[in-house]
Symmetry: C2
Subunit: 191 residues, 2 copies
């Protein structure tokens, strides 16, 4: 069954050096840079979340700081997005380097699909872990006596919330990257 919904392209089957019917590759580069930007912003906003407040402890005023590194979930968050930031930068540069080589594009997309899936798994768990802990900070948990912290550490919590929003956006971009790769491959596979 020959392809019917594409412009006539006699070289398509005999050589892969012909241009793709529709080139989604520039979106791939854009998405990778978006993931890089999201990773950097998420890390910076998280790391700069420090806030010191005076709280009453047994009647005495006490200066107590809140730092992101007090929570293992937030540390994992920063590590995970460092990995995704580094990966997305490298893969974006690699993506640019093959943008002029159509016969390498498909191979590139399929190889990076492996890593995209892994990075999605890493940043999605990190976003979930940080989100779960942040939610306890915001709402507390009466059943086990965990108190809210966001009433006192308002700026700290705003930073965490902002970082989480950007992280969620980054996770969506990672899903879109996989979708785009699948769709690009789909449009080049013989029907």
């Amino acid at each position: 069954m020959a392809s019917t919904d594409k412009p006539a392209d006699p070289e398509y089957r005999s050589s892969s050096s012909s241009p793709a019917p529709v080139d989604y590759f520039k979106f791939d580069v854009i998405l990778r840079f978006l993931l890089f930007a999201a990773s950097v912003v998420a890390i910076v906003v998280m790391v700069t979340s420090e806030q010191t407040e005076t709280i009453l402890f047994n009647g005495f005023p006490l200066r107590r700081p809140a730092k992101f590194r007090y929570s293992p979930a937030f540390i994992y968050f920063v590590v995970a997005f460092s990995v995704s930031g580094l990966y997305s930068l490298i893969s974006a540069l690699a993506s640019i380097s093959v943008i002029k080589k159509p016969d390498l594009k498909l191979k590139f997309l399929l190889h990076f699909l492996f890593w995209d899936a892994l990075v999605l798994g890493i940043i999605a768990t990190a976003t979930g872990a940080a989100g779960g802990v942040a939610y306890i900070g915001l709402k507390g948990n009466d059943h086990v006596g965990w108190q809210k912290v966001c009433k006192v550490y308002d700026k700290y919590c705003r930073h965490i919330a902002g970082s989480l929003a950007v992280a969620l956006f980054g996770s969506v971009v990672a899903v879109l990257l996989i979708w785009l790769s699948a769709y690009s491959v789909h449009s080049r596979v013989p029907k």
Copy 2:
């Protein structure tokens, strides 16, 4: 550039009804059933985690239960794995239904790749969120005064830990599903 590392297959380019060089499709079915099994086990172990213990509250003994639904993160966990359980069952049955139709396989793999990525995102965030909360339950957090609960609710915490281990396995299976789809497509794309 013709393919050189495959057995001669004159129909390969003109018709997609020829058999694939190596058929990874049965692994796809197996992985989907594995994801289904992991989802069901994770939900059951999480839901059956209830434990009631006597704790001292202001000197008075008090019977207090621990339930999974006391934590929003665990509720999200159960919802997310219900989605992945339902999805993996449906996609496994769909996968079986096309196993005898080679010309539909590639299309099937590419379409389900979209959903696989989405489900991976959902269950990875759920595993992360539940893991983040469970870690606080296990270790507490001295900086904000959140106490450990696993010393008292030992059976409860074992259930949560078991459920999380199975959930992590399920997330790895979801990554493998994407890898397998990408690899299967890769082996069928003209070189």
